[in-house]
């Protein structure tokens, strides 16, 4: 196990290095720079700006500067926010994104699994249909429409929640719901189809024949086995929730990292692009590791290490 973990961590570092490298060169290959603007500045000012941000160095030196910055976690000044560093921006934005993301994730996982299990246990009954209608609706409506719709109904018409901003628990509800809708629906459907499949398997029949209680069967045998594909989905889901919150953050005026990330790309704010990318990739690779470890917990048939090879 320890050997396995060590190996995985080395892999993680290599992955991060490759991501940073690929991002750096793609970023440089995209036309336009941080100082491209409608009103071009005189070449001398541009040169001074480039010197200030070390963009005048040869490409490989810039690259090493970035690597150094990443390793020391000194991500440098932002190009657009003249009075902030990238570290400042991450420190401010991430807690908000993490809060929103965690709330949405919990909603999606618990809601999704509950709906899926209910639907599967009542296969082809009304509970099944209503759970799936909820799930399909969550998937059929794009998040930007759903978010605007929630805002329109629950905030503007009914006045139950604030329209926008991020100043307390009641402000977090609509954005979390909007963000959770699609992953929840996905998880619900995945859980349902797996559950139905698992419920048809011999070991469940055996358990039933042994006279085990339905609840016990469901919890001990069925759900556990049905969750594996759901777990597979969690890594990308978390990354998706964190970065994909852009539209929601914008509509509800949430000061998160998602919009920082997207805007940095359109602004060619190089340091912020690199900083947020590294940050997100770290979360992502760690999540993927956790997911792989979670596999073994959910499904004892899969062993970590090289056991998969025969």
């Amino acid at each position: 196990m320890i050997r396995y973990l060590g190996k995985r961590i080395i892999f993680m570092l290599i992955s991060l290095f490759l991501i940073v490298t690929a991002t750096f060169f793609i970023m440089k290959a995209v036309p336009g720079g941080p100082f491209t603007s409608e009103k071009q500045v005189p070449p001398e000012i541009k040169a001074a700006l480039e010197a200030k941000y070390k963009l005048n160095l040869p490409m490989h030196e810039q690259y090493f500067e970035y690597l150094k910055g990443v390793v020391t976690w000194e991500l440098g000044p932002s190009f657009t926010e003249k009075s902030s560093t990238v570290n400042d921006m991450i420190n401010r934005g991430f807690p908000v994104s993490a809060h929103l993301g965690a709330q949405a994730l919990l909603l999606a996982i618990f809601g999704g699994i509950t709906l899926g299990v209910i639907a599967a246990l009542n296969h082809n009954k009304w509970q099944d249909y209503s759970a799936m209608v909820i799930a399909v609706l969550g998937l059929s409506v794009p998040s930007f429409i759903l978010a605007s719709f929630y805002q329109y109904i629950f905030a503007i018409n009914l006045g139950w929640f604030p329209i926008a901003k991020w100043e307390g628990f009641e402000y977090t509800i609509l954005p979390s719901l909007a963000l959770a809708a699609s992953p929840m629906a996905f998880i619900a459907r995945l859980t349902r189809s797996n559950m139905i499949e698992v419920m048809g398997q011999d070991y469940i029949k055996t358990a039933k024949a042994k006279g085990l209680h339905t609840v016990a069967i469901t919890v001990k045998h069925a759900i556990r086995n049905a969750l594996l594909p759901v777990v597979t989905y969690l890594g990308p889901l978390i990354a998706g929730i964190l970065t994909g919150a852009f539209v929601i953050e914008r509509i509800f005026g949430v000061p998160g990292l998602g919009r920082e990330f997207v805007l940095s790309i359109t602004n060619r704010d190089y340091t912020v692009i690199m900083g947020t990318t590294v940050f997100y990739s770290m979360i992502l690779v760690v999540m993927i590791l956790i997911v792989d470890i979670a596999y073994t917990l959910v499904d004892p048939r899969i062993k970590l290490s090289d056991a998969g090879k025969e």
């Binding site: 001398e44 329209i163 000061p255």
Partner: protein, 552 residues
Amino acid sequence: MKKNVFALVSSIAVLGTALAGCGGGQPAAAPPAGGTPATPAPSQPATPAAEKKPQVLKMNLHSEPPTTDPGLAEDTTSGAIILATFDGLTRIGTDDKPHEAAAESYTVSDDKLTYTFKIREAKWSNGDPVTAHDFEYAWKRALDPKTASNYAYQLYYVKNGEKANKGEAKLDEVGVKALDDKTLEVKLENPTPYFLELLAFRTYFPVNKKVIDANPKWAGEASSHVGNGPFKIESWEHKSKMVLVKNDNYWDKDNVKLDKIEFSMVEDENTELSMFENGEIDWAGAPMSALPTDAIPALKDQGKIQTNPIAGTYWYKFNTEKPPFNNIKVRKAFAYSIDRKALIDNILQTGQIPATGAVPPSMVLNPNGYFKDKDLENAKKLLEEGLKEVGMSKLPAITLSYNTSEAHKKIAEAIQDQWKKNLGVDVKLENKEWKVYLEDMHEGNFQIGRMGWLGDFNDPINFLELYKDKMGGNNDTRWENAKYKELLNQSAQEPDLEKRKKILADAEQILMDEMPIMPIYFYTQSWVQKPEVKGVHQTGLGDVDWKGAYIE
């Protein structure tokens, strides 16, 4: 200046929902404006009852101000906060003219090259006295290449400003000097008729050296920010909320009525309008943001909408090096054949003015325009002649480019259809991401492309000098004309204002005769507000000053 934020605004429009400034991009507006320092601001006598109303204004700032440092700011949002928290030597009054502010008085030499300012007895928000040294320091700091201020060129009017910024002269040689604590002497390169107005622009604002030396990130947090303006920053929750309160150290605090301005930072224009309609904010739309286009007819019906012309022109640029637009007549045919009025009435809908010249009405040179809108007859004739001249029997399909945004797209779609109907030309639309688009425009990688321009200060030269040099940074059309160039050079030397105006009008005539650009409309900005909000001053350049604002 200003336009930088446009990138931000347009990309937001691109990615989120709406339209970056319905007017076609509400590019960041820029130079600050002012309340009236000299004249007591809102002369409306407030009734005692009204006096008791809490003087709190709730606004949406739209986005986080990237900085509150006057020397570094490049965008409207920062500009508005800086104008509220700083005071220049002059400040633009409600009459749109510069009035003495941090300067108590000034004298000008006969050759109009030397200005001597007497600095008013005033304090920074931290209690330090405001001195002439603060100005000298601020200007030299902005010009220092090490500061890398994007807007340093605003100070090029000052003697040796340009040279110092380009590293060709020492900072000590720059023509600004504090003779003593209260006297500032400024020497200029040329007699500059609009210099007093420039002084109200943020790059000319003072900064507090002690504060900057103590904390280089001083302009990023409420706690370390120090200004000399009507308001000071009380709190600043990044990307979320900012609160300004009245600055009790301000010299003219008696004319500052508001106790507090609360800004939220919501980028979505639809959300902003909903918040306004819900009573959460007192103002929505320009100048900090824009109203969603689809809401405009309804707001108009309710009689709520207010509009204000600003000094800006929306135009299409022709690449004059690539056929068929290397031919003047073809360019003219395209320019004459569109129906600007229909675009304004049906798409833009907020009282924009059809543009038949390059210079907007507030600084107009020829009020009658240079050609007729929707002149189909001439357009067809010109196209025919033009095609003959370039030796084509029929125009190939033309590509019209714009940066990705709902507002630009609508205009492009409508014009595409008009050209098809009126000239029988097939036009292909091509949209590009903002920075890619700019790069392509600057490199001449287009046939017809959209651009807009907002004036930085109140003078036609703003608009005309764009097309002075073929490879000038903002020309894009690759058009050049020796006579035009000469007229512009002449205008810089001409001290007589009337003669200067005539020279500039001649230049604009050449521009419109050769038509490297096709003007479409002059910008306006529109907003909705609660009726009890009074005294918010919006300048003809699109800036906003809350100094004289109050709640009735």
